[in-house]
Amino acid sequence: MPLMLDDVRRVAALARLELTDDEAAAQLRRINELMERFESLRELDVEGIEPTAHSAPIHNVLREDAARPSLARDEVLAGAPDAREGCFAVPLILEAS
């Protein structure tokens, strides 16, 4: 079933993407075009098949719980759009109602 514009708006909100009306319409068309391709997967019988999350022959990787130097704080903060007093600075998260 093709997506509707409301679906794109809902998903964009989940992904914290603000789309213009033109963008939303263009994305809707392209996404539906791509998702038509996904229908072929329904032909396959996947009953009882284990999912593959990644292909490496690895399950758990353990290491010594040893301390090592972390990155220098000022170097990390240097890349931030706004940093003050050794912290990342952000706009208000909770606004007064």
């Binding site: 998903v11 996404i31 996904f38 329904r42 990644h54 220098a72 998260i93």
Partner: protein
């Protein structure tokens, strides 16, 4: 004296070690070449002149002190701009990371430096490695050195074009669905996607973490093998890197391919594959047989579902990985919007391009409540079926051979309004990422003055046989010696 550009990696290193030329002279020669051709091809987002000369001087100083030099001493390289370089801008071809300088090096960056390589610049790519033409870069497209009206492929198009045009001797790209092999094919060079876990991903800006793998791009199989040897190996900073038996570049050149069993999956030789490409691949299979390999047609029945599987799994992982671009810790912050959430939405709106947004939307949808089982989980199960197809094929064959790309390089702008047609450029390369196996593209012909790529895939961690077959083919043919006449 033979010009320094277009010399092989090994020849350059040997020239430095013997004292025939200094690392500084090699660096200067390649910087001159960059100045000459870069206006035409735009392969590099940054040229790191000062850093390169300093690295070269360090190599020359080490030699004058009589120290043993690294295996890549003085070799000029470029890194795809999704690979972190401490203090050097790493943009991923995206506006959202414009000017961002990582506070650390990727493991591959550090390993290349330790080996003595000299980094000349950062290579253009599709935004966050999402694309097949390098047209999705926020900084403009790269042009194919063979024909400036054509794309170089992607997403590692800058890495491929820089090597093909003689700007550097080798480069690194990253491959999530074909992004090393397809541009290598379209630019007429060698590009290897190693086995998943062979090379550390620490410091590779994540796109789809279960598929991403860094690999070498160079003008010969031996050069690609030398680069792989320098960057591979387990790394405590990447828990998915594997402690596999070491890879030896020397072993690739040893032995012949007599008795090598070559499978030719019929799914990649029919519909959608350009006639000239299929003919070149058939001729390459015959060439391998004339050297003692045996070839037989085979089938990977589930492989045709790789495109659908990829475009569910990769966007799903991307939607999670790209959540970090929130205008807080790095990159662009847009002042529009109200409060923290509004700032995040405005920053992402301003910072991401259309293709990146599409993949975030598709991935978020595929993972959202009510759709997870139908899309994401089903795709993961199909991925298992694709792997089983390969497992079965590798019981009968040592390597599998296909075209790398269904066509030669297409025109700039030709597919940019048709994202689905663009995605079909990767049909031959996607299955190897699904299965995690190694694959290399090597030049195997020319059509319309543009290179054709041959893909050779092998068992997990069997890069040796993959590259041995590639090396044998290369030694018996002259395709890898063709050079583009880059317009001046």
């Amino acid at each position: 004296m033979e010009p320094l550009t277009y010399r092989s990696l090994r020849a350059l290193r040997d020239a430095v070690c013997s004292g025939e030329v200094s690392a500084r002279e090699i660096t200067r020669a390649h910087l001159d070449r960059i100045a000459e051709v870069e206006p035409a091809i735009s392969a590099l987002l940054a040229v790191t002149t000062d850093g390169a000369l300093a690295q070269a001087d360090a190599v020359d100083a080490a030699r004058s002190r009589g120290e043993e030099l690294g295996p890549l001493a003085g070799v000029p390289i470029a890194l795809k701009d999704v690979i972190s370089t401490r203090g050097v801008a790493t943009t991923c071809g995206s506006r959202i990371l414009a000017g961002w300088k990582p506070p650390y090096d990727a493991t591959v960056t550090a390993r290349l430096r330790e080996a003595g390589a000299v980094m000349l610049g950062k290579a253009n790519c599709d935004e966050f490695a999402m694309g097949s033409s390098t047209e999705n870069s926020a900084y403009g497209p790269t042009r194919n050195p063979w024909n400036l009206d054509r794309v170089p492929g992607g997403s590692s198009g800058g890495s491929a074009a820089a090597v093909a045009a003689g700007e550097v001797a080798g480069s690194l790209g990253s491959d999530t669905g074909g992004s090393i092999r397809q541009p290598a094919a379209l630019c007429g060079i060698v590009g290897l996607k190693p086995t998943y876990g062979r090379v550390s991903r620490f410091g590779l800006v994540a796109y789809a973490s279960s598929l991403d793998q860094i690999g070498p791009m160079a003008r010969s199989v031996e050069d690609a093998a030398l680069l792989l040897e320098a960057i591979c190996g387990v790394d405590l900073l990447d828990a998915t890197s594997v402690d596999a038996p070491p890879f030896s570049a020397e072993a690739v050149k040893r032995g012949d391919i007599r008795g090598l069993r070559v499978g030719v999956p019929r799914e990649f030789m029919g519909d959608g594959i350009d006639g000239a490409v299929a003919a070149a691949v058939r001729a390459a299979v015959e060439a391998l047989c004339s050297m003692g390999a045996t070839a037989e047609e085979c089938s990977l029945p589930t492989a045709r579902h790789s495109l659908a599987t990829y475009y569910i799994l990769a966007p799903a992982e991307a939607s999670s990985n790209l959540a970090r671009y929130d205008g807080v810790r790095f990159g662009l912050r847009s002042e529009g919007g109200s409060g923290h959430a509004g700032m995040t939405e405005a920053s992402r709106e301003a910072g991401f391009g259309a293709e990146t947004k599409q993949r975030i939307l598709v991935g978020t949808y595929a993972l959202s409540a009510g759709y997870y089982d139908a899309y994401y989980l089903r795709a993961q199960k199909v991925r298992t079926l694709i792997r089983r197809d390969f497992d079965a094929a590798f019981e009968r064959f040592d390597v599998l051979v296909t075209p790398t790309s269904p066509t030669v390089a297409f025109g700039i702008g030709e597919k940019s309004d048709d994202p689905l047609a663009m995605k079909l450029a990767d049909v031959c390369t996607l299955p190897a990422n699904m299965a995690g196996i190694p694959g290399v593209s090597i030049p195997c012909g020319m059509d319309q003055g543009l290179p054709i790529g041959l893909q050779i895939m092998g068992r997990s961690f069997d890069e040796e046989n993959v590259l041995r077959a590639a090396y044998a083919y290369e030694q018996a043919t002259r395709w890898h010696t063709h050079r583009p006449e880059v317009a001046r």
